[in-house]
Symmetry: C2
Subunit: 78 residues, 2 copies
C-alpha cells in the first residue's frame, strides 16, 4: 500500500473511533467532504497543512497521527 | 512556528546528524536542491509523498520522522 493509502486508512480509523462522519470531520477541519472522501480512499497526495488540519479535528497531534505501524515500515526509494 | 517551519527544522536536523549536504539529500530523494532549501526554510506546504521521499533518503520511517516534540503539541484549529 502506498503512503496515500496509509494516510487514508489512518484517517478513517481515527474518524471511526471518534464516531465522526466524513461530514463532521470536514466541518471541523474546514475542508470539503468530497476532499475528505478522496483522501480516505487514498487518491490524494495530501499536504502537511491539510494533514495537520485533519489531525487537529480528530484531536490528535501529528506525532500521535503518525504513531501507527503502517508508518513504521521503511519504504524503498521511489 | 507553523507546521511548515517545523517540517523544515526537522529535516535540517536529521540531515545535519547524517552529515548530508542539501545536494546529497536532494540527489537521494530524487528532488531538486532548491526545493529542499525551500522546504528547510519553511516556505513549502510539502506533500506526504515528498515527505516520505525525504524521510526515506534520511533513513527514517515516517513514524520516526514525526516522533519529535514539535509535532507533539496540539495546534489550534485554523
Amino acid at each position: 500500500m502506498d503512503v496515500k493509502g496509509k494516510i487514508g486508512q489512518r484517517i478513517k480509523h481515527l474518524r471511526d473511533i471518534s464516531s465522526m462522519s466524513q461530514k463532521d470531520l470536514a466541518y471541523s477541519a474546514d475542508l470539503d467532504r468530497s476532499y475528505i472522501a478522496s483522501v480516505e480512499n487514498g487518491s490524494r497526495n495530501i499536504s502537511i497543512v491539510n494533514i495537520e488540519k485533519i489531525a487537529t479535528a480528530l484531536n490528535v497531534t501529528l506525532k500521535t497521527f503518525f504513531d501507527y505501524d503502517e508508518f513504521d515500515k521503511p519504504t524503498t526509494s521511489h
